[in-house]
Subunit: 147 residues, 2 copies
Amino acid sequence: MGGLSTIAQAVHQPRLHERLLRAAGIRLDRAGASLLAKLDGHGAEPPRVTALAERLSVDTPTVTRKLQQLERLGLVARSDDPGDKRAHRIRLTPRGRSTLARLVTARRAWLDQLLGGWSEEDRTTFARLLERFASRLTEELDGSHGD
Amino acid sequence: MGGLSTIAQAVHQPRLHERLLRAAGIRLDRAGASLLAKLDGHGAEPPRVTALAERLSVDTPTVTRKLQQLERLGLVARSDDPGDKRAHRIRLTPRGRSTLARLVTARRAWLDQLLGGWSEEDRTTFARLLERFASRLTEELDGSHGD
DNA sequence: TAAGATAGTTGTATGTCGCAAGCAACTACT
DNA sequence: AGTAGTTGCTTGCGACATACAACTATCTTA
């Protein structure tokens, strides 16, 4: 099952990302893209820096700095947390939302292309197992903070 | 199918890697680990720097520098290419080979743990689809060098 | 044999990330 | 209310990853 490393490596490559994003007319680095993605659709309140760091499994300074960049680019905005003056709520700006939308579309198109010859059944199964594995993995990462 | 990004991200995380390798008693960074893995079992001649760069889909300077580190650590060795004085052949030292073996074992154990509750059938299917996807991806990467 | 290609290295810049340290605000305990 | 401890976020710093450009040595070819 060496495919896992291969895939992780490949999907993470700067080159690939560059190509994909450029094709979509988006100028955004990988970490920025991940962050944007985590800002989407979680119903209630916009998340805080800490919450984002946890979702991404990185530390807060990393998120802080990435947010500063994204803010400069006008893709995210921060508001004060009512009830805790230390905290900020992070949300997508309209521009951020549209960038994210284009990003998602581009990724999907790329995936569709890669899964070109696959049967509908294989695709579905793959998606299901991938999702299951991802959530297991996320659990694992979250669960072992205090190791 | 956002699981793909999640997985790529997770598997690539310094944190995770650190933990995994430390548990296995290995002191090696991610890129080093990837490089070692590509040095294994390809029958004939040991590969050259260029070949490694291609396999890893990174450029040659990256490989050169990583090799210098691995060489200092005594994990790889280089010999002159007979027939081309510019080129070098890169091979694992015994120590490199044993490090790699431990690495592979550690990864497998980690995977087994993650796939804990999975049926045998799901595991097999997942491995198969993952492999298929990985090789498609590799093709894609190789095929688009000259974009 | 000179022109161009190729193998590898070094120089330099950007991005990703962690740990340590710090400040401001919050919470709890007395 | 005051002090101690905790939490949310930021800044300082360093390590790693990787790209592009420029260079040297060697090989290939017309």
